[in-house]
């Protein structure tokens, strides 16, 4: 596609349920980021993938969060046993290569945990 695609755009779930968020980056972009943005706040780094290398998971807030990137392309962020504090917008971005500051963001997934 022409840009970074994220799905679903909105997700409402009950506390304790698991959720999966999907990101389809721009074709050919080797770098992929997940960020979290709480209402009215800035960007919180979660995880970074570069090609098929092991990801930097240092920003994941707890072991309930995990992510994978299959074939160096599509990525899935999974949150297990969701909590109300997980409610936020989850943004995915891709860039052509590592160290490139020109990121292309998706529109995000608005996650609401009731």
């Amino acid at each position: 596609g022409a840009g970074v695609s994220q799905s679903p755009s909105n997700k409402v779930t009950e506390k304790g349920k698991d959720v999966e968020l999907r990101c389809d980056p721009i074709s050919g972009h080797t770098a992929l980021y997940w960020y979290r943005q709480s209402l009215g706040q800035g960007l919180e780094f979660l995880i970074y993938f570069q090609g098929n290398s092991a990801p930097d998971k240092s920003g994941l807030p707890s072991d309930r969060f995990s992510a994978e990137r299959t074939g160096g392309s599509v990525s899935t962020l999974t949150i297990q046993r969701t909590q109300q504090e997980d409610s936020a917008v989850y943004l995915c971005a891709s860039s052509l290569n590592a160290g490139n500051e020109k990121l292309f963001f998706g529109s995000g997934t608005q996650l609401s945990v009731l």
């Binding site: 960007l43 943004l91 995915c92 500051e101 963001f105 529109s107 995000g108 608005q110």
Partner: protein, 110 residues
């Protein structure tokens, strides 16, 4: 530790020029300064990047003084549609560990 500091919010009026300054005292020698714009319900969008002096594109200008400890994003003749949050960003280690500012919420009034 590198960081960026920018005003939390700014107001202006249609037709005015708006300048948003970001300070980055510990910027690395080879680091570029990048600015993004974010509208509600969208991800941030790249608008301009520079290393020194002045860069201009169809959207904005970026002014960087000789010491590079700050940068100023200049939006000429703003309109209501320029209401957004603006982020500055540096990349001191030239890798994926990007340093984002907290964002400046710009509100343009009629």
């Amino acid at each position: 530790l590198a960081k960026t500091t920018q005003p939390i919010s700014m107001d202006s009026y249609e037709g005015q020029e708006v300048n948003i300054t970001c300070s980055h005292n510990n910027i690395a020698t080879n680091d570029y300064i990048t600015w993004y714009q974010q509208f509600p319900s969208q991800g941030p969008r790249f608008i301009i990047q520079g290393y020194k002096t002045k860069v201009t594109n169809e959207v904005a200008s970026l002014f960087i003084p000789a010491d590079r400890k700050s940068s100023t994003l200049s939006l000429p003749r703003v309109s209501l549609s320029d209401t957004a949050v603006y982020y500055c960003l540096i990349n001191p280690d030239s890798n994926y560990q990007l340093i984002w500012g907290a964002g400046t919420k710009l509100i343009i009034k009629p």
